[in-house]
């Protein structure tokens, strides 16, 4: 038995140090490529980290522009994710009601997953105008499927014995859904929400590329910076878009953890 303080600091060291080392190695490799592999004229292909910091993060004008775009994209992604969760769950609940309903609709859920949404985006723009609504719709289409499959899987893997218990006491469909199937499906559903969170950010950025009305999203800025060869700002914008994905993924994961931590194995501490 070691002293608790000592153990805690050891845990901190084993958790913090390895990713720090990876970050350092990454920056070293980056510098090496910028200065040793690329000539001065090619350096715009991979500007060194301090240039990115200076132009992208420390220049007030540039940073404001990027953060505005990021916020606009965040609004789209969050709205899309929420709608995908609501409709995805409704869809899954509907399919869980009877085999024939599932058999009738599930193939189309799969098709939704496999059609190249990117090819549809310009059409969606023509149908619904190139504004906020269409951008959200693209997000929903891209992030709906994992919500549907995971929730459906969760609803269907309810313990048979518990279903018997509910039937024994004359529980109706609604009571069984509310008190048994939905709570039992939560862990699986949240796994789906998390995947959907990442996808909704991708959907929002893809939408940005096509929809040029209103406040430009960060995807739109990425497109502009690319065409101007403004690679410092390009890297900054890419950094912030992936940060958005990570944060959204983490927030959804955190809510899911809070929702099931009192009873589900997945919330158990892992060392």
């Amino acid at each position: 038995m070691t002293h608790p303080d000592l153990r805690r600091s050891r845990v901190a060291i084993t958790r913090v140090v390895p990713p720090m080392l990876v970050a350092l190695a990454f920056i070293a490799a980056w510098l090496l490529v910028s200065y040793e592999v690329l000539s001065a004229r090619q350096r715009f292909l991979l500007p060194p980290p301090q240039r990115v910091l200076q132009v992208g993060f420390l220049d007030r004008h540039n940073l404001t522009e990027i953060l505005r775009g990021l916020w606009s994209t965040t609004e789209v992604a969050v709205a899309g994710l929420c709608i995908a969760i609501v409709f995805g769950m409704l869809f899954a609940i509907l399919m869980a009601q009877a085999r024939w309903v599932e058999r009738s609709f599930y193939p189309y859920a799969v098709v939704l997953q496999t059609i190249p949404i990117i090819a549809l985006v310009p059409l969606i723009g023509f149908w619904f105008k190139f504004d906020f609504r269409s951008r959200v719709l693209v997000c929903v289409l891209i992030s709906l499927f994992p919500v549907v499959t995971n929730t459906l899987f969760g609803l269907q893997s309810v313990d048979r014995g518990l279903l018997d218990l509910f039937r024994l006491h004359g529980a109706g469909r609604l009571a069984a859904l509310r008190k048994l199937q939905l709570p039992a499906a939560l862990p699986a559903a949240f796994a789906g929400f998390r995947i959907a969170a990442g996808l909704s950010v991708i959907g929002a950025i893809v939408g940005d590329f096509f929809f040029r009305q209103g406040q430009p999203g960060i995807g739109r800025l990425i497109d502009v910076y690319r065409s101007q060869l403004a690679s410092e700002r390009l890297f900054t914008a890419i950094f912030f878009s992936s940060l958005l994905g990570v944060v959204l993924f983490w927030v959804v994961g955190f809510i899911g953890h809070r929702a099931v931590r009192s009873w589900h194995e997945s919330a158990e501490d892992r060392r």
């Binding site: 014995g161 218990l165 009873w263």
Partner: protein, 233 residues
């Protein structure tokens, strides 16, 4: 009873359990014991034959504890009454009573994950008691428990029976468990199940735990075992 896939689970079976009687059913695995209980409780409709139950409340203890993992012990106790839409106050009172009855005080706020297998089964037993059933069905409830826990729970079932005098139908594959609990033991054949014999258990209630080690008890258990091993047509 024949299932849609053609499995003949139970051939022919006529069984009556009266109030204050504790009947045990023993038989090899797969002979239709669970099916018998499912039919008795109405969970399965038999392909032919009828079930008659006097009284309204049926208690059913399944093979697994079947607790809702997201509810506390207290919350799980409320499930049966809640599904039957009993008023909240009544639910609470019944749940409290159940806790007293099986000695779970102090565990009310625990989630099932934090309980041992024996404790979970005890919660399951107490949950079935909340409705004060007139007919109590048990489907090999202690099969998965260690011997010490199993004997303790058998003693508890007996105490409950002595106090409540429900009609008990207890399915098990243990000859000793059947002889220790029941006033009458019914022996079933391999699938399709039918009754191949009955043994009256001559010991009066209340039965002390030490009964398990008396020579006379071993004789009764032996006669049940002989019925099980008798060659069948």
């Amino acid at each position: 009873m024949t299932f849609p896939d053609g499995t003949d689970a139970i051939a022919e079976l006529d069984l009556a359990v009266t109030a204050g009687e504790f009947v045990a059913v023993v038989g090899p695995s797969g002979c239709g014991k669970s099916t018998l209980l499912r039919i008795a409780s109405g969970l399965t409709t038999p392909t032919s034959g009828t079930v008659e139950i006097r009284g309204t409340q049926v208690g059913y203890v399944f093979q697994d504890a079947t607790l809702l993992p997201w509810r506390t012990v207290l919350g799980n106790f409320e499930v049966p009454a809640e599904l039957r839409t009993a008023p909240k106050a009544q639910r609470r009172a019944q749940a409290q009573q159940a806790i007293e009855l099986v000695g779970l005080r102090g565990f009310e706020q625990h989630h099932p994950r934090r309980l041992s297998g024996g404790m979970r089964m005890r919660v399951s037993l107490a949950r079935a008691l909340t409705l004060d059933p007139e007919l109590f069905l048990f489907d090999e409830p202690f099969g998965a428990l260690d011997e010490i826990t199993r004997e303790r729970l058998q003693d508890e079932v007996l105490q409950l029976f002595e106090r409540k005098r429900f009609a008990g139908l207890f399915v098990t594959h243990s000859v000793f468990e059947a002889a220790f609990l029941a006033s009458r033991v019914v022996v079933m054949s391999t699938r399709p199940g039918r009754i191949v014999g009955e043994v009256e258990v001559p010991f009066a209630y209340p039965r002390p735990p030490s009964l398990r080690f008396e020579p006379h008890f071993a004789e009764v258990a032996g006669s049940i075992s002989a019925l099980l091993r008798r060659p069948q047509r």
